[in-house]
């Protein structure tokens, strides 16, 4: 709502003729977004992308995760978050990936934003590291108006612990292919704060009942994102 009002005021003040007849076909800024999985053995759940006002935040470090975010972190299911994004006036666009992003693979998306809204457009993205209890990786609020046509922004993506499920690394609690265990569980038996992930321990690290191997360990960044303005 605020965004529309701002652009109307800008139009009235400066370029009335260019705005009037073009409501149905505004000048669009188009970006290609490429996310690469940089881990050895952590598939990423289908990505969720959101273009939103800088006032909106996917999550805050050291604060509890929303239930929608918990569902992604524990099971990779982004349907609840997508529904929330679509009903949120601060969110201009939301996109879901169509499949798992395997280690070493890149998922590519295209997003378009009306040029008149660019100064209020920031990109966030989130996905689960599926061979974990509740690890996420994300970027939060990358300003799109700073990217010139043909230019790009690279960001490293760190692993976060949603804090909603104990990192017990048991086969019964990890949904990825390493275990095939349970996904979402509404119980919160961990810190209930989103923090930087402490990493996978595994059997070699001293957790004898862990289902995770040495290869499931990771260091940051676990993914890289490149946002390129193509139009």
């Amino acid at each position: 709502m605020t965004i529309q009002q701002t652009s109307l005021i800008l139009c009235a003040a400066a370029v009335l003729s260019a705005c009037g007849g073009k409501d149905s076909d505004p000048e669009m800024a188009t970006f290609e977004v490429a996310v690469t999985n940089l881990t050895a053995a952590q598939p990423l759940s289908p990505m969720t992308l959101a273009v939103a006002s800088p006032d909106w935040s996917l999550f805050e470090l050291a604060e509890p995760a929303s239930v929608a975010l918990e569902q992604i972190a524990e099971s990779g299911d982004n349907s609840a978050l997508l529904a929330e994004l679509e009903g949120n006036a601060q969110v201009m666009e939301s996109i879901s990936g169509t499949g798992i992003v395997m280690p070493g693979m890149t998922a590519t998306f295209e997003i378009s934003v009306p040029e008149s809204d660019l100064d209020q457009a920031s990109l966030s993205a989130v996905t689960m590291l599926v061979n974990t209890n509740d690890a996420l990786t994300a970027v939060r609020g990358v300003a799109l108006d700073a990217i010139e046509l043909g230019g790009s922004v690279h960001q490293s993506m760190a692993a976060y612990d949603a804090g909603t499920e104990s990192n017990n690394e048991l086969a019964a609690t990890i949904p990825g292919p390493a275990a095939g265990g349970e996904g979402f569980n509404a119980e919160r038996d961990d810190s209930d704060r989103i923090l930087v992930h402490p990493g996978v321990v595994g059997v070699l690290g001293g957790r004898a009942d862990s289902v995770l191997d040495e290869e499931h360990r990771f260091d940051n960044p676990v993914a890289g994102i490149v946002i390129t303005r193509i139009e």
Binding site: N37, A40, E214, D219, V222
Partner: protein, 234 residues
């Protein structure tokens, strides 16, 4: 093109060669790990058409030789053959934990060499390497700092067993002084070749010098970043 010509003419008339934006710059590389050694570094200023690797893609044979055995000759030849300006082995051997090496690169005669890349194998690892990949050298004079991460070339299984530095042969090499802390008779880790360059997950190591699962001592573990680079554009 017209603008370039004008600039060049103006530069020639005034007697200064200012066409190249970052003609000369210093690169200081610090190994910020607690216990990892870097093999001879390759520092290269090159064009945007060149890169030593792409994360997510398979390593070239030249990158594999560097990552498994510290041999930078293949990468250096490929880059210089395409017009890059290289500095090879500025530290004159291994770069020990906590130490710094410096080099000055001059790209006066190759003004499109506006990208900086740096690589070196990390010891002791099977195929781990430190890298700066296609970093755009700022045209504005100043001091710029970059943190470098550890990559896994994805060409050799991370078995953590003492072995060979030759490409395609298992195990990690242990020249002095790494040999002094290297264990023997480790049973090894049942790891597989990943097949693509990615962020290194780190080594596990163990405290058993005569056995255990790993010949890597615990003192050689790390977390990112593993190097600090300071670029001074003059």
């Amino acid at each position: 093109m017209k603008t370039l010509h004008k600039t060049l003419v103006a530069a020639l008339l005034s007697g200064t060669a200012s066409m190249s934006q970052a003609a000369e710059f210093d690169v200081a590389i610090t190994n910020v790990t607690a216990g990892v050694f870097f093999t001879p570094l390759l520092v290269s200023a090159h064009s945007d058409a060149q890169s030593m690797f792409m994360a997510g893609a398979a390593a070239s044979a030249e990158l594999q030789a560097m990552a498994e055995g510290g041999d930078i000759s293949g990468l250096a030849t490929a880059l210089s053959g395409a017009g890059a300006v290289n500095a090879e082995n500025p530290a004159g051997g291994l770069l020990a934990p906590g130490t710094t090496t410096e080099v000055t690169l001059n790209t006066d005669n190759a003004s499109n060499n506006m990208y900086l890349s740096i690589v070196a194998m990390m010891l002791p690892t099977n195929d781990g390497f430190v890298a700066l990949n296609q970093w755009k050298i700022p045209s504005e004079p100043g001091v710029y700092q970059v943190a470098l991460n550890a990559y896994d070339a994805g060409t050799e299984a991370n078995d953590e067993v003492l072995g060979s530095g030759a490409p395609g042969e298992a195990g990690f090499p242990a020249p002095p002084p790494v040999a002094a802390t290297t264990g023997t008779n480790g049973t090894g880790i049942d790891a597989s070749v990943e097949g693509y360059v990615h962020i290194h997950r780190g080594v596990t190591g163990d405290a058993d010098a005569e056995g255990g699962h790993s010949d890597i001592d615990l003192s050689h573990r790390w977390l990112n970043p593993v190097a600090k680079v300071v670029v001074t554009v003059k």
